[in-house]
């Protein structure tokens, strides 16, 4: 990968957080209020339509975890500990910039953590349904988005405009379609897109508006096309292709991607909210009810906090057909009950419906298990 010039050569290659920070600072300088978000369920298109800038808050570093552990129970997912540690230590620049925080009742750990930080900044908790296919789920979730709208209107003293929301959805659709085209280059065999490049693009594409992103993404697509023409690709052509699913993976948790590469594999499909999941699906356009359209798309996110979450298996199958992995690795952050328990089902599905080798790894943000992870990943590759 060293010989291939980085896809985004703006001086931030491999440092997506810094790039996003610059983006935020530019908006802040223009006087746009910043709203902190934690999770893929935060309806960013609404936030953007109201002239606010969504900032994904820090949650992927091991550094603040010891501070968090002076308060939180030890058996808690590192993502939650890290988030909390960043806040009590005051080290997350995005949190510092945010004038309000949007939270969701996804997992127990998060929802109880939000209670502990609710008094620091205006924090709006969205009550996320857990059974998306139940009759009440969609109307309830739509109401939650409306509630959020009211909260934002009040906090930032401005009115949401239905036309702007519709426009925001359409721009997001355009952006997502372009993102999918970019991901197609990872689907090539051998892959012409590196996971860290997907991260570079994705971390910016999430908070930036569809309108801001579209021209940039078009330019990247041209570069990728050229890359293919030049015959450039990552890793050995016969490197085992890996689809990585499960919990969000960022910062210190990307050690798993690095281990996969060190073991000779190629990460061709990072699923998860930090990867491709954020750009999946489309909003229904011109429905006359943009909030409803938003609710529908968001409720389709196949997070393990949903039950029974059969959609995760369906989506995985589609992804497997598209990216043609040789193996699937399910990343479970330590003490994340939802993904941990669901892994049993995912493993069965991957093995039985697709005949692919499957490995579940339970990781935290430390480096202590890298040697052991490597051994397990190598053993997985040997089974291919």
């Amino acid at each position: 990968m060293l010989t291939i010039p980085p896809l985004m050569d703006d001086g931030f290659a491999g440092e997506p957080a810094k790039r996003v920070l610059q983006y935020m600072q530019a908006h802040k300088a223009k006087g746009d209020p910043i709203v902190g978000i934690y999770c893929g369920y935060a309806p960013i298109e609404l936030i953007q339509a109201m002239g606010l800038v969504p900032a994904v808050l820090c949650a992927f570093s091991k550094v603040p975890i010891p501070a968090a552990e002076t308060v939180l129970p030890a058996n808690l997912c590192p993502l939650i500990k890290s988030s909390f540690g960043f806040i009590i230590e005051g080290t997350c620049p995005f949190y510092a910039m945010s004038q309000a925080v949007i939270a969701e009742t996804t997992c127990d750990g998060k929802k109880k953590m939000f209670e502990l930080i609710a008094d620091i900044k205006p924090t709006h908790v969205m009550d996320l349904p857990q059974v998306p296919d139940q009759r009440e789920a969609l109307p309830n979730w739509k109401q939650m988005i409306l509630r959020l709208q009211e909260f934002l209107e009040k906090t930032f003293d401005r009115k949401a405009d239905e036309n702007k929301i519709e426009a925001s959805l359409q721009a997001a659709n355009r952006r997502n379609a372009l993102m999918q085209k970019i991901f197609d280059y990872a689907a090539l065999r051998p892959s012409a897109l590196h996971w860290s490049e997907m991260y570079d693009v994705g971390f910016l594409a999430l908070p930036a508006t569809g309108a801001e992103m579209a021209p940039r993404l078009e330019a990247l697509l041209e570069r990728l096309e050229k890359r293919v023409r030049d015959g450039l690709h990552f890793g050995r052509p016969d490197a085992p292709r890996v689809l990585v699913t499960g919990c969000p993976v960022g910062g210190d948790a990307t050690k798993i991607f690095k281990v996969i590469e060190a073991a000779g594999g190629a990460v061709v499909a990072p699923d998860a909210c930090t990867g491709m999941k954020a750009f999946a699906g489309t909003f229904q356009e011109n429905s006359g009810d943009p909030i409803g359209a938003m609710a529908e798309r968001y409720l389709k996110i196949p997070c393990a906090c949903m039950t029974p979450n059969e959609r995760r298996l369906t989506d995985l199958s589609i992804m497997i057909d598209r990216f043609k992995p040789d193996a699937v690795i399910d990343v479970v952050l330590q003490a994340c009950h939802a993904y941990n328990i669901e892994s049993h089902k995912v493993g069965r599905h991957v093995q039985e419906a697709h005949g692919l080798p499957f490995l579940k790894v339970e990781i935290d943000y430390s480096e202590g298990d890298i040697g052991q992870l490597r051994t397990r990943v190598e053993a997985l590759f040997e089974s291919i």
Binding site: P66, T70, V71, A74, S366, E367, G368, D369, G371, Q372
Partner: protein
């Protein structure tokens, strides 16, 4: 009339015995390895001294209670009392023993206000240090001093003894400096107990008791991390037994 009181602290690794006179001065101190038959060991020890009343503490206290019909007190209260004997103003006590570590906050009058103990795993205890010292090939008495000689720390991220042991082994295999690993091990114990101290006793000087208090590296790291003074008496290991003896005296 009774005028000599004994306290016996039956821990997982060692047994300490202290006899105090009527004014609370220690007149005898004894120490032995717990061994396989702690009661036989204890019997021998109490046979070697003279006293009129005794109180037992430590994890073997209940066995002692049955065998010798003696009253008991928990290590927490005993160490709190012992710490006060060393430092009469003590408000915060850290005790790290063989298999437990405890942070204790005291009221002005010396009563236990709040405490916390490590959960069941060995991380942050004397046993953890001992295992790591052995893995690194140091005698436990030298472990802290050797670690202090390191110029930088190799981070040990595993909290669990089993994982930490394999982590250390692989670091040694990689050719990492042993002293640097040793420092890393100390830092990992320090982080554990520091978190506990911050929860239970967030400010003021800390009196360090128990066998591990002799470890200069841990004392230094703790003082640095917390920015608080770590007070320590050379007799720190006898704090539990001394505390029990004093409580026996005070109950008489």
């Amino acid at each position: 009339m009774a005028h000599r009181f004994a306290g016996i602290d039956i821990g997982s690794r060692t047994i300490e015995l202290v006899v105090v006179n009527q004014s609370g001065q220690a007149i005898h101190t004894l120490k032995a390895d717990t061994g396989f038959d702690p009661m036989a060991e204890a019997k021998q020890m109490i046979g070697a001294v003279v006293y009129e009343g005794i109180m037992a503490t430590g994890y073997g206290r209940n066995l002692f209670e049955i065998a010798f019909e003696a009253p008991t007190v928990t290590e927490i209260k005993a160490h709190a009392r012992g710490a006060r004997a060393f430092f009469p103003e003590a408000l915060n006590v850290l005790d790290i023993g063989g298999q437990d570590s405890k942070a204790i906050a005291l009221s002005d009058n010396g009563k236990v206000k709040k405490f916390e103990m490590n959960d069941r795993c060995a991380a942050g205890t004397g046993k953890f240090l001992e295992i790591m010292a052995r893995t690194l090939g140091y005698a436990i008495e030298q472990f802290g001093n050797e670690a202090l000689l390191a110029e930088q720390e190799t981070t040990i991220s595993s909290m669990c003894t089993v994982f930490a042991e394999s982590e250390v082994t692989s670091l040694i295999a990689k050719g990492q400096d042993r002293r640097e690993i040793a420092l890393g091990v100390h830092a990992s114990v320090m982080r554990r107990v520091a978190a506990m101290l911050q929860r239970v006793a967030p400010e003021g000087d800390i009196v360090f008791t128990g066998g591990v208090a002799n470890n200069a590296c841990l004392r230094a790291l703790l003082a640095q991390k917390l920015g608080r003074r770590i007070l320590y008496a050379p007799q720190a290991q006898f704090a539990g037994a001394l505390g029990a003896a004093l409580l026996a005296l005070e109950a008489a």
